[in-house]
Amino acid sequence: MTRPNLTVVPHVQQQRDDPASREVDWSILMARAQEGNGAAYARLLTEITPYLRVLASRRQRQASDIEDAVQDILLTVHAIRSTYDPARPFGPWLVAIANRRLIDRIRRQYRHRMMETPLMPEHETAANSVAARDETADHARLAAAIEALPEGQKQAIRMLKLNELSLNEASAASGLSIASLKVSTHRAIARLRDAFLSGARK
């Protein structure tokens, strides 16, 4: 009776590798996610992530940019999952969202580049000086000060200021309300300011 098992395993493997059946799987998982099935949703997001990473790597070079883009796409998928109709294929829906996010990122990066001037050696007024070393020390102090914040404030400042998520994205990722995120960020900044000012006075 072991024979059927031997044939089933490759068949399942083949099915999972086949793009058409994989897309049907994703479509079913999204339909369940829309009904509130967290396990199906987690599985769907985990399964599409490598695929999104491939799409992102075609337009982004740095690994951190690729990962940012993937997270950006996942957040958008989450925000507009109600627009998916299980009667239609999942692939085009996902690719359209991914492409839009990637194009937005490229535009944003281009705008940032247009506003930036490359730092040349002649711009360096304090090469190898104490000032340059001080800046490194400030990074360490800032990291330590953020680490010392209460958990909620730490999470808010990381998502909104360090990872530069929007309020909506941070709210979706953390499950906290926008108002609560604003309050936490405000308090975190006030606390960091106090920490630095008191350090400077000393």
């Binding site: 996610a33 829309q34 009904e35 509130g36 099935n37 967290g38 396990a39 949703y41 987690a42 997001l45 985990t46 992530t49 951190s64 990962e67 940012d68 993937v70 997270q71 996942l74 957040l75 958008t76 989450h78 925000a79 507009i80 999952r81 109600s82 627009t83 998916y84 109709d85 299980p86 239609r88 294929p89 692939g91 085009p92 829906w93 996902l94 690719v95 359209a96 969202i97 839009r100 996010r101 944003r108 705008r111 990381r158 998502m159 909104l160 360090l162 990872n163 530069e164 929007s166 309020l167 909506n168 979706a172 990722a173 953390s174 499950g175």
Partner: protein, 212 residues
Amino acid sequence: MINTPDLIAALAAQPKPVRRLGSPMLRSLGWLAVAGLVLTVLAVSHKLRPDFGSRMQDTTFQLRLFASAATGVLALIAAFILSIPGRSRLWLLLPVPAALVWVANIGYQCLTNWVDIGPTGMTTGETADCFATLVIISLPLGLTTHMMLRHARHFATSSVAFMASLAISGVTAFAMTLFHALDASVLILSFNLVTTAVFIGAGLAFGAAVRR
């Protein structure tokens, strides 16, 4: 940076059921019901234009009336379809034939008569009345459109906004033709399309800042 598995865990940890969007056709019908309500209120307050019966004998008038309504309805369907990710951008062409017929029969009377200077002094002209009616019709339709298409801001802002403004323009022009003696098509199109262009431009310029 939060790592991706943590983000996925956070997103999947709040498995709230979501209500799927209705089909574009159903949503278009819902929007048209709101437009019908606005037109009914306007019909009660403004009454049909007195020469409506005689003007309906004129083929150009009929063409303009039906082409503007068809442009509005087809652009609306296109907007709802394009607001769903993954749908072909060829849907942008859906209102083109009706829009061409409308534009070919368009009038500009309302555009040029902002002020009347008569024996009693300077008063607001027909254009100002046209503009006021146009705002009264366009505003509720614009708000309804915004409510029904707000999910599209994540991915197809320009094409959906353009189709939606064409839809509002078409339906507004249809309504104005019923209630106003002068043809306001150019004024309506200018108002809606320029407003949309301003919003899209502002969105592109400040969108990133607003999202933060």
